[in-house]
Amino acid sequence: MTVIWKTAATLGALTFSAAAQAEDFAWFEGDKLVLTNGVSTIEGASGGGLASWATIAGRELENGVGISGHATIVELSDYGWQSHGVSVGIANRVELSYARQNFDTRDVGAALRIGKGYKLNQDVYSAKVRLFGDLVYGDPLVPQVSVGVQHKRNLDGPIAALVGAGSDEGTDYTLSATKLFLSHSVLASATVRLTNANQNGLLGFGNASGKGKSVEFEGSLAYQLSRRFVLGAEYRTKPDNLGLGEEDWFDLFAAYAVTDNVTVTGAYVDLGSIATFENQRGTFLSAQIAF
């Protein structure tokens, strides 16, 4: 476990010192093409909103450091979601991010006897490294490919244990491939995720009988209407370790770059059944600022 974080920290430091040696090293220069840094996902890593992409956050290129911050709210049938976080991009190679998730159980909290409006909270620490390829340039059939790790710490361990989770912390591993197919103005992204998170980790990880990680898939397909405007759809499969009928996630989103630095994303999301309360659909709104 700690090996991964040491590796991520070392990679970040190495990439940073390599970039810092460039004659024209730049902090927050904003050299990326607009929208090619993606938007912040609910876990903090850059992507399309729900699904992670192979993109690196921040608007820096190989000679710089970039940064982004975001805030997201999701209004569901029975629940309210709020999350926010920051990401640092180093040399368009390494992404380090943190996100805090707050999940308001509202009336369901009373029904589950944990208290009306009880909030489940979680911290997510992530690192992503671009292995090869470029989102826009190079061979049109070679995507940008990145690996990521997301360490999640659920701050409501007793509730996670109550619903039958095996642990209050877990680590996801992701492998993503993303490409903008200019000839069709289409962006496609696919990610495989090794995870045992229940509802993203808000209901803990695994189950009492020690269920291990499973391979899940997340994909996005988006159409570029203009330099600044993208419409898309996403799908994300999830395990059902707790036997509560956890379902896959789906969304239809629109992302608009108001300026080169500010992106707003709106979506219709269908998060299925959450803690036996079915049909959790609603609106997703997110704002990101990036340099």
């Binding site: 024209d24 093409l33 290129l61 000679n63 340039y137 200019l182 000839s183």
Partner: protein, 175 residues
């Protein structure tokens, strides 16, 4: 010691007035071709392969770009805008903009299947030693998008031209 240096300096001949220093130092004077207005370049083999991309098989995009006339406007404007763009203007200093406008036009015209041959150099040769970075390429792409927008080219058509140019990146940027 000091005295001898001063003496040596004093004894130096005053340089003659109209010395051709370029000639003295073996610098070739560049003269524009009276017909084309371009500076001569080192010999190279001409071929459409130098354009760096296969042309579209249909001519529908050529129509969307306004045929040769529209494409020429885009190439001209791209050079004008980029030359004035503080992010990359320095790179264009002392290069032949007359030739660049012509060769860029030919390249776009050839790729868009609007009835031209490309007579310029290949992308690698044309951009060696410029030390181009992805940031420069992004700036040029943004300028091209700006110019195409200015000419009212539909976004999907803009992207189709970019789809032919984007794969050339590894011939243009050093890393």
């Amino acid at each position: 010691m000091v005295v001898s240096i001063i003496a040596a300096l004093l004894m130096q001949q005053v340089p003659e007035e109209n010395v051709d220093w370029d000639k003295e130092f073996g610098v070739e004077e560049r003269v524009r071709d009276p017909e084309t207005g371009e500076f001569p370049v080192d010999p190279y083999t001409q071929s459409n392969d130098n354009a760096g991309a296969k042309p579209f098989s249909s001519d529908s995009l050529a129509r969307e770009f306004g045929e040769q006339e529209g494409i020429r406007r885009i190439a001209d404007r791209l050079v004008e805008v980029s030359k004035e763009d503080p992010r990359i203007s320095e790179i264009f200093v002392s290069h032949d903009m007359v030739r660049l406008k012509r060769t860029l036009f030919e390249q776009f015209c050839y790729i868009l299947n609007a009835g031209c041959d490309y007579t310029g150099r290949d992308m690698k040769t044309a951009h060696t030693d410029m030390g181009l970075r992805k940031a420069d390429l992004n700036a040029l792409v943004e300028n091209l998008q700006f110019v195409m927008r200015e000419q009212g080219i539909a976004f999907a058509a803009q992207n189709r031209l970019l789809s032919k140019l984007a794969p050339m990146s590894y011939d243009l940027i050093e890393r």
